[in-house]
């Protein structure tokens, strides 16, 4: 019994999806490749990954003896069938554009080399091809058996290769996963979505409990084995016998966005003053109960590209902030920070920011709203500042891409930044990429389109009879290899 926030949207990987749905689906289906804990891409159903020198072809020898939930063996045929289905616009696959040439290099061919080998051919080299294949929101480009659809091609249910199958789905109550007894595991170490998997429990029930107080009570009452909890509850839960709290650093980026197109905030000095007024150490300490540490960069700390440059921030200097404000002629005009009461510390961050900004004379006001409305304002760029968060981006280029661009929802709007992001997307050589990322970070600090607070730490409370649960940076719970002691 585990806690879960909302209903899943469906069972069709990469199509009927949202972050929560992905989490569940990833227990049922697998792709050729998968993300490992360090966000490197590792083979999953593929035995290995063979990239050509020119970076234009990828060949995947498949593992032998992997069975679908319906008992059939997985072969290149199904991989091909799955791919063709994804690339059919009628399928509505979320990630089609990444492979069709619209939004990255086109996959010109996908061939079955032999029953246990497939090959992809790209129009141009891509640093992100493998990553895109493994993306959660693409449903890991899961390999499905044609039985997943009916004769007319309508979706029925995923017949995949994962360690679990779908059990009971009760909207508004829970989603249940059942152990797939014939699962054929890899033999390498469990590593994120890659590596060995074994369903140790017969069933996993994702209870839909959006209300934090309820979740906590249910956990305390022993009706949940694992649950995310608010940082403020850690002490209390740990104090009770039989409870364990696991702290996990994730790649979810918590930031306070500053609308660079706002008349007042378009003044870089004011933005800088805001950034300087905020003491990241204290803010993070408050929001995470001292469990997290600040991160001045959008790039997550566990990323291979996270280096010394990224760890350097603008610093906390109220005096300089005041001076800048003076220089900019700030007259105490109110600055509104949008926030909401969702779990995840949005509200607390805004609250602390407001208090800290007030210290240097910035007249910040909080406006708490419902998430949907805030999101709308985010998209239309109709705000001054807002407490926001971005879900896991496993590639540093994407970490910048998500805030950089010309669209109203993007805050990092300098041509230089856009150019750099463009480069980061195509260059795949690590050293060169690192340089670009470093440059981007510096530009980010210079421009101050957002205040990077930290990458979120999550807290999982579990009963001490739970073994093997490991949270990871992707902030996606994994329930294979998790067992319950009697």
């Amino acid at each position: 019994n585990v806690a879960f926030v909302q209903d899943i949207r469906g069972t069709q990987p990469g199509v009927d999806r949202d972050g929560q749905t992905d989490t569940v689906q990833m227990h049922v289906v697998e792709g050729l490749v998968a993300y490992a804990t360090d966000f490197s891409v590792k083979p999953m159903l593929a035995e290995s990954i063979e990239e050509s020198e020119d970076g234009l072809t990828y060949t995947f020898p498949l593992r032998h003896g992997v069975t679908f939930h319906n008992g059939a063996e997985m072969t290149a045929e199904e991989v091909k069938w799955s791919w063709d289905r994804y690339m059919d616009p009628a399928t509505n696959w979320r990630c089609r554009s990444y492979f069709s040439g619209e939004d990255g290099p086109e996959v010109t061919a996908m061939e079955v080399v032999d029953p246990y080998t497939v090959r992809f051919t790209l129009a141009s080299p891509s640093a992100t091809f493998l990553g895109n294949l493994a993306r959660f929101d693409c449903g890991s480009t899961a390999v499905l058996h044609p039985d997943s659809v009916d004769a007319e091609g309508n979706w029925v249910a995923p017949v995949g290769t994962g360690p679990f199958t779908f059990g009971d789905i009760r909207p508004g109550q829970y989603v249940e996963l059942l152990k797939f007894p014939d699962y054929v595991s890899r033999t390498d170490e469990p590593d994120g979505y890659a590596g060995a998997k074994e369903a140790l429990v017969d069933r996993v029930r994702f209870n839909i409990l959006p209300e934090a107080a309820v979740k906590k009570t249910a956990f305390l009452a022993g009706d949940l084995d694992i649950s995310t909890i608010d940082p403020s509850d850690i002490d209390e839960i740990e104090a009770a016998p039989g409870n364990v709290v696991q702290t996990v650093q994730t790649a979810v980026w918590d930031a306070i966005l500053i609308n660079t197109r706002d008349p007042l905030l378009s003044d870089k000095r004011i933005r800088k003053a805001i950034a300087l007024s905020i003491d990241p150490e204290q803010m993070v300490a408050v929001v995470t109960e001292g469990k997290g540490s600040p991160n001045p960069s959008p790039v997550p700390p566990m990323s291979a590209f996270y280096g010394e440059t990224e760890a350097k921030g603008i610093g906390y200097d109220p005096e300089q902030a005041k001076a800048l404000l003076e220089e900019a002629g700030y007259d105490g005009a109110p600055i509104t920070i949008l926030t909401n009461r969702r779990a995840g510390g949005y509200f607390e961050r805004a609250l602390v920011a407001q208090a800290m900004m007030a210290e240097v004379g910035l007249n910040a006001q909080l406006e708490t709203m419902e998430w949907g409305t805030q999101l709308d304002k985010y998209v239309t760029g109709d705000y001054q500042m807002q407490s926001f968060a971005y879900s896991t981006r496993l590639d540093p280029a994407l970490s910048f891409e998500m805030i950089t661009g010309d669209h109203p929802r993007k805050v990092f709007r300098t041509p230089e930044a856009m150019e750099l992001v463009e480069q980061a997307m195509t260059v795949s050589e690590p050293a060169k990429r690192q340089a670009i990322i470093d440059q981007l970070h510096e530009a980010f600090l210079e421009e101050v389109p957002a205040i990077s607070v930290n990458h979120r730490v999550m807290f999982y409370a579990m009963k001490d009879h739970v073994s093997g649960f490991r949270g990871w940076g992707a902030a996606k719970e994994i329930y294979w290899n998790v067992g319950l002691a009697e």
Binding site: L220, S232, A355, G372
Partner: protein, 277 residues
Amino acid sequence: MTFLSDLSRRLNGRIGLTLCGLVLLAALTGLLWTPYDPVKTDFMARFAGASAEHLLGTDMYGRDLLSRVLSGASVSILICFLTVALAVTGGVVLGALSGFVGGWLDRLVMMFTEALMAFPGLLLALSLMVILGPSEFGVILALALAYLPSVTRLVRGTVLSVREKEYVEASVALGNGWLYTLARHVLPNCVAPLIVLATTMLGWVLLAESALSFLGLGVPPPAPTWGNMLAEARGDLTREPWLGILPGLCISVTLVGVNLLGDALRDALDPRNDRAA
């Protein structure tokens, strides 16, 4: 004055008046003065217990609880009053016209109130809150609209029954115009049930605001109301129950006061109970 003394002669009236008086006093204090800024956070002093510095302690963000309760009183009470005032004004105008004029106007108004009533008040308010955006103003407007139909119906019902009374006919017989008759003869007789409804409604508004806050759409924090304080404290019920008990108690006390007062008012306004002690 005789009315007030009549009220205070009853036990429920006395208790009701006392409790409501206390609440009003708190609201007034909160409006004029609080020991600290109620939204001022102090992360060094979170969950502080009662002390000389913070008489009632502080909350999860280190805000002074006494200040918040006082200031919350003024916001909550203001919201209650404005909401009720709005609903009553609108309801009286609509209900009176609908009941007195009758005909298609009546049918139209009734269809609208019927349609509005077909939504549970909280849901209606909830939808409106999402549309209006959470703010004191939004809460007031949403709840007023949610309660408008019941006031309209009450007034219309009373107007309809009063309209049948012979003193209204007598007024017509004297040659008085309908507006005069409505204002002079009909409406004053709707006042008693309306007062009772209004007092009850004050309580509902308080509860509804806290329910809205619980669902994430009440008066947006950090501005304190009892409702959102209670809602905010729900996660800390096991850790620091006091944070929830205090605003909860405030709400309950107000409701008890208002309801007792409403009861007493009903008794006092009912001529048949004249002699009741």
